[in-house]
Amino acid sequence: MTPTVYSDAMRDEAVAWFVRLQECDDETVWLEHQDWLEADPAHAAAYSAVERLWIESDDLPQLEAAEPAAEVIELSARRAARFGRYRYWLPAAAAAAMVGAVSLQFERGSGETYRTGADATRVVALADGSRIVLNRNTEVTVHLARNRRAAELASGEAAFDIRHEADRPFVVAAGGREIRVLGTEFDVLNDAGAFGVTVRRGLVAVSGTGGTAAARLPAGTALLRPPGARSDTVSRANPDDAFAWTHGQLVYADRPLDAVARDLARYGGGTVSVDPALRDIRVTGVIRIGDPATLDRQLEQLLPIRIERHNGQRAIVPARH
């Protein structure tokens, strides 16, 4: 639209409408809004300006992830004030130090440990209203203290739906790293050297390791570190794929076969190797979680591969022609 001049008063009106309408369940209010829009073409221009600013601000968490330095200085003061919560996100060094603190807490033997075997997932409802879904072969220890909530994912994978509490952040320790959250929903994988965090809702901070910096993940992003890799990959991700196991499915969108093999090992036990000739295969598809034979059969139907079994070890090899 052509830019239209609008007054400061119109701008303020537009803001008021925007906020009021965001969660408005009353049709008459929308009709009043329509009248306001039609009363002066400048109103629509002012309203669009509000929307534009709203959209521009979408990227603020990414900016703050990229340029956190200026804010760290104020950390202690901010913490004391209990406000400006985003300043809690720590740079790598400080976060690494806090991983130690978490471990220490667990060494004192407090907290409740939950485990799952190879045959079932488990939902754990915590006293604070949060929920943790444990994938198969997973161990999580939870500790709820007055000023802090912590969980340690010793191995496996878990989806966390954390109830927001301003005064009690929730910290997940996994793979020597720390994931700090407020109210949010995310999936953590810590299995056989692979580490991953996928965020469905809210904002999550993941501490760095050794040479890598801490990362802040807004909703719809995932951090992945395959086994043996030296750095993290942060990318846009469909969180529904990462959470699919909570509904008994594995969903792959253009994933390497190695990642699928790791899942097969995780769900079926034993080790699963991949023939070098198949290394470049990318997998897209849905697999229903079940016993190892069922998993193998589905994968064989999905891909030009065959799965051979020897003494509890499985090898993915090219299909015979």
Binding site: A16, E56, S57, L60, F83, H164
Partner: protein
């Protein structure tokens, strides 16, 4: 009648009103497209939970369609800029063909973002906190209200104050 049928029939009844809403926002030429987009969203939606007021729900959907249209415009502009940046090297005689230097767009966006952040820092802590909880952590107005132990109308007041200030500081 299930919820999505209810939404579809409400859409049919309100189609002209929704068209009028979009026409007031973007002009008549584009309004039809946006109504169509809204229809697709209603039709493709998996069974929604309880919808208190289907008509208001549709209007909110229209609001989201408008926001997503802006988002798409922004990412298209970013893609175009990237394309020009990459392709500029192909110009044989070494002269700059593009009038606007594309990298500037990204710089300007970045600069505006920094100004938004700075403007946010001007605000009193409760206002800033309300804005962040709602905007970045996806809490609804009532959830923010419960979280901070204040009324929902105070949450809306804080949101208005924050947005007014950001727009005044960063401009259009």
């Amino acid at each position: 009648m299930n919820e999505s049928n209810l939404l579809l029939s409400t859409f049919m009844q309100r189609r002209a009103s929704l068209l009028r809403y979009f026409a007031a926002r973007v002009g008549e030429a584009e309004a039809e497209d946006l109504v169509q987009e809204t229809w697709l969203r209603v039709a493709s939606q998996p069974a929604v939970g309880e919808v208190r007021n289907p008509a208001a729900y549709l209007y909110r959907l229209c609001g989201n369609v408008m926001l997503d249209r802006l988002r798409q415009e922004r990412s298209r502009a970013a893609r175009d800029a990237e394309w020009r940046r990459v392709n500029r090297t192909l110009v044989a005689n070494g002269e700059e063909v593009c009038e606007d230097v594309p990298a500037d767009n990204a710089l300007i966006a970045r600069d505006r973002l920094r100004r938004i952040r700075a403007a946010l820092d001007d605000l009193p802590a409760p206002v800033r906190r309300t804005f962040r909880l709602h905007k970045f952590e996806g809490l609804s107005h009532s959830e923010v209200a419960a979280e901070l132990g204040v009324s929902r109308s105070l949450v809306e007041k804080h949101m208005m104050r924050a947005l007014k200030h950001l727009i005044a500081r960063v401009g259009r």
